[in-house]
C-alpha cells in the first residue's frame, strides 16, 4: 500500500509544480508542454530521490482540496474555462480558513480537546461533512461540494498515507492561501471604505 500512497503523494506535488508553470507568459501549447515536462521531471529520481520527494519532506502530501484547486486553476487557464464564481470562491475560503482556525491551534495543544482525533473515522465528522457538501450543492456551489465529496471519497479509499480525514480536506499551505485571500479581501474593503469616507 505504501507504494501506491507514495505515488499519489508525489503526484499531488507534481501537479503543484506543473500548476506553477501555468502562470508562465507563454502560448497555450508551449505552456502546457512546459507544465507536463515539469510534472515529469518532479517525479524523476535525481541522486536517489525525485525532486518532489524533497518538497514532500517539508510539506507532506497536499490535501485533495489543494490538488483540485490547482488542477481547476491550471486546466481552466489552458482550456479557457470561466473562473470559479466569486461567491463560491469566498465560501470555499471561509470554509477552509474556519476549519483551519478550529483545527490547528487545538491540535497543536492550545487546549485539552484534540479535533484531529475526529478525523480517524468519527461518524459525527463524516455526517457533518456530508451535510455541508449537500448544502453547498443545494446552494449551487458545485465546486465546493465536489471538493468535500472527493476528499471524503479519497479518505474512504485510502488514497494517501494518512488515515486521517482532516489531511484530505485541508493542509497548512491551503489554509495560509485561504486566510491570506480573506485578509486581503478584508484589507481592500477597509481601504475602499476609508477612501469613500475621505471623499465624503
Amino acid at each position: 500500500m505504501s507504494g501506491f500512497t507514495d505515488l499519489t503523494g508525489l503526484a499531488g506535488l507534481a501537479v503543484a509544480a506543473a500548476s506553477a508553470c501555468m502562470a508562465a507568459p507563454l502560448s497555450g501549447r508551449k505552456r502546457a508542454a512546459l507544465a507536463a515536462l515539469v510534472a515529469i521531471l518532479a517525479l524523476v529520481p535525481l541522486g536517489g530521490l525525485p525532486p518532489a520527494a524533497y518538497l514532500r519532506g517539508a510539506t507532506g502530501d497536499l490535501s485533495v482540496t489543494s490538488v483540485l484547486l490547482l488542477l481547476r486553476s491550471a486546466l481552466g487557464r489552458q482550456l479557457g474555462w470561466s473562473p470559479t464564481e466569486a461567491r463560491e470562491r469566498l465560501a470555499l475560503q471561509i470554509l477552509i480558513a474556519g476549519a483551519a482556525v478550529a483545527l490547528y491551534p487545538l491540535a497543536l495543544g492550545a487546549g485539552p480537546f484534540d479535533p484531529y482525533r475526529l478525523g480517524f473515522g468519527s461518524p459525527w465528522m463524516i455526517g457533518a461533512l456530508s451535510l455541508v457538501a449537500l448544502a453547498a450543492w443545494g446552494a449551487r456551489m458545485l465546486f465546493v461540494s465536489l471538493c468535500i465529496a472527493l476528499a471524503l471519497l479519497a479518505w474512504a479509499l485510502g488514497w494517501y498515507e494518512s488515515g486521517n480525514l482532516w489531511d484530505y480536506l485541508l493542509d497548512p499551505l491551503l489554509s495560509m492561501w485561504a486566510a491570506g485571500a480573506l485578509a486581503l479581501r478584508g484589507a481592500r474593503r477597509l481601504l475602499s471604505s476609508v477612501a469613500g469616507a475621505s471623499r465624503e
Binding site: 491540535a107 495543544g109 482525533r117 474512504a156 493542509d171
Partner: protein, 439 residues
C-alpha cells in the same frame, strides 16, 4: 440556452452522485473502525526461591560516538534484542539505528549492526529525511516485530514524525518504512520513547509525545499493519513528555511522564484512566522526582509497579529504581543503579574524570583494555572546556518470559549499558533500602 441549462442540470446531477457516493463510502469506512478495546493484561510470574542475581555489561561497542535512547524487546527464543541510535553527534546526518542481541545463556551481547539509516529511510519513505532519533521496539499481536523511530525532515526534534518498519524474522531483516501521520500541521511533531503495549483486540498502543509549541503526551492505537486507528491525549499543556503507560487491568492504567516545566517541584507527571484510555485524569505531579528526564517502567507478576528513573530534581548523574505496591499512589526507593552525585560535587578535570569512568566501566563488566578505551571515549564527549559530568539517562525497562528484568540506558551519552536482575535481587535491594531508612 436550453443546451446550457441541460448541461448545468447534468453537471449538478453528476456532482450530487459523487457527493452521495462519497457520503456512502465515508460511512462505510467509519463503520469498519474497530470498537474501543480493553488493555491486554499480560503478567509474567517470577520464579520463586531464586537466589538474588544481577549482572551488568555494555550493549554498544563503538568508540567515540554519541549513543542514546535504547529500547529492548524479547525475541521468541528468550534472547533480548536492543536498539539505540548513534552517530558522530545528536542530530547528525550519520546517525543510524543500531541493534545487538543478548545471548541469555552466555550473558553476552553480540556484534552491533545498523538496522536503519537515514539514506535507506528516505529512499523507502520517498521523502527527504534529515536525521533519525529515538527507536522503540514492539512485538505485535501476530508475532511480528515492529520498530518505530523518529525521523526529522526539517528543523529540530520538534519537527519529528514517526517511521515504522517491521520484521518477520526477529529483526534480522526489515521491510519497507511507513510514516505514521499523526498531526495535521506538516505532520509535526510526534516522537516516541515509552514502551508499547497491546490491547485485547490485538491492536498496539504506542505512547508518544508532542513538543511543538505545546508539550504533552499522547497515545496512538495502531492496527496489525501499523496504520493509525486512533490518537488520544494523555495530558495537555506545555510541560509533559515521553509517557510510559503501566497497565493495571483491562480498564485501568497509569501514565507517567517526564516533567519539562521550570516550576518546582520537579516531579514526574501522572495521569490515570479507568476506562481503557477513553478518558485520562488531568496531569498532576507525582511524588517521584524528575530532572526533565525520561523514565521507564513495568508491572510485575503480582501487580507491583517498577520504574527506572533519575529520581532527583536536577541533573542526570543518579539513576534509580522505585516500586509501588498500591498502583502508583505511593512509591518506595529500591536503590540506585548509578550514582555519581558525590563525584560530581566538585568540578571534575579530564584526567580524574577519565579515571573514574574507566573504573566504572571495569565494574560494569568491561575488560581492562576496553575500560580504558571507554574512559577515553566518554571523556571526549562528556568534557567541555576541561569540565566533565556524568549522565545516566533514558532508561528502558522490560521483563522477559523467564521473569528477569532488563534495563538499558544511555551511559554518559557514549554507550548503552545493560543491567539484568531478578525479582529476588529487587526484593533484596528493597529490604536493604528499608533497613537504611529505619536506621
Amino acid at each position: 440556452m436550453a443546451a446550457s441549462s441541460r448541461g448545468g442540470t447534468l453537471k449538478g446531477a453528476l456532482v450530487l452522485g459523487i457527493v452521495l457516493a462519497a457520503c456512502g463510502a465515508g460511512a462505510f469506512r467509519a463503520s469498519g473502525r474497530p470498537a474501543p478495546a480493553p488493555f491486554q493484561v499480560s503478567r509474567i510470574q517470577e520464579p520463586r526461591n531464586e537466589a538474588p542475581r544481577m549482572q551488568t555489561g555494555f550493549i554498544s561497542t563503538q568508540q567515540g560516538v554519541f549513543a542514546h535512547a535504547a529500547s529492548l524487546v524479547e525475541l521468541r527464543d528468550g534472547s533480548v534484542r536492543a536498539f539505540w541510535y548513534s552517530g558522530s553527534r545528536e542530530g547528525a546526518r550519520d546517525v543510524e539505528i543500531r541493534s545487538a542481541v543478548l545471548d541469555p545463556r552466555a550473558g553476552k551481547w553480540g556484534a552491533e549492526r545498523a538496522v536503519a539509516t537515514r539514506e535507506a529511510t528516505e529512499r523507502s519513505l520517498k521523502r527527504f529525511v534529515a536525521k533519525l532519533g529515538n527507536p522503540v521496539a514492539a512485538r505485535g499481536a501476530d508475532g511480528r516485530l515492529w520498530l518505530f523511530y523518529v525521523t526529522v525532515s526539517v528543523g529540530g526534534w520538534a519537527g519529528s514524525s514517526i517511521t515504522a518498519i517491521s520484521s518477520d524474522d526477529e529483526g534480522e531483516s526489515w521491510g519497507a518504512a511507513r510514516r505514521l501521520v499523526t498531526s495535521p500541521f506538516f505532520n509535526l511533531s510526534t516522537l516516541a520513547k515509552g514502551t508499547p503495549f497491546l490491547y485485547a483486540d490485538g491492536s498496539l498502543g504506542l505512547p508518544v509525545y508532542h513538543e511543538f509549541i505545546g508539550k504533552f503526551g499522547e497515545l496512538l492505537r495502531l492496527d496489525k499493519a501499523g496504520a493509525v486507528l486512533d490518537k488520544t491525549r494523555l495530558s495537555h499543556g506545555r510541560y509533559s513528555l515521553q509517557p510510559v503507560v503501566l497497565v493495571k487491568s483491562g480498564e485501568e492504567a497509569l501514565a507517567l511522564m517526564r516533567y519539562s516545566g521550570s516550576e518546582p517541584p520537579h516531579r514526574v507527571i501522572v495521569a490515570s484512566t479507568r476506562d481503557a484510555g477513553a478518558h485520562w485524569t488531568p496531569p498532576a505531579k507525582s511524588p517521584l522526582s524528575n530532572p526533565n528526564a525520561a523514565l521507564s517502567g513495568v508491572v510485575l507478576g503480582d501487580g507491583v509497579m517498577l520504574v527506572a528513573l533519575n529520581d532527583v530534581e536536577h541533573d542526570r548523574d543518579v539513576l534509580s529504581l522505585a516500586t509501588s505496591r498500591d498502583g502508583g499512589a505511593h512509591w518506595s526507593a529500591v536503590g540506585d543503579v548509578e550514582n555519581q552525585r558525590a563525584a560530581s560535587v566538585a568540578p571534575l578535570d579530564e584526567s580524574r574524570y577519565a579515571g573514574i569512568v574507566t573504573a566504572l566501566a571495569r565494574e560494569s563488566g568491561a575488560v581492562a583494555a576496553d575500560a580504558s578505551a571507554i574512559g577515553e571515549s566518554v571523556k571526549l564527549r562528556s568534557c567541555k572546556a576541561g569540565r566533565c559530568g556524568f549522565e545516566f539517562s533514558y532508561p528502558y525497562l522490560i521483563q522477559t518470559g523467564d521473569g528477569d528484568l532488563h534495563l538499558a540506558y544511555t551511559w554518559n551519552r557514549s554507550f548503552i549499558k545493560h543491567v539484568r536482575f531478578n525479582r529476588a535481587w529487587l526484593e533484596e535491594q528493597l529490604a536493604k533500602s528499608s533497613d537504611e531508612r529505619l536506621h
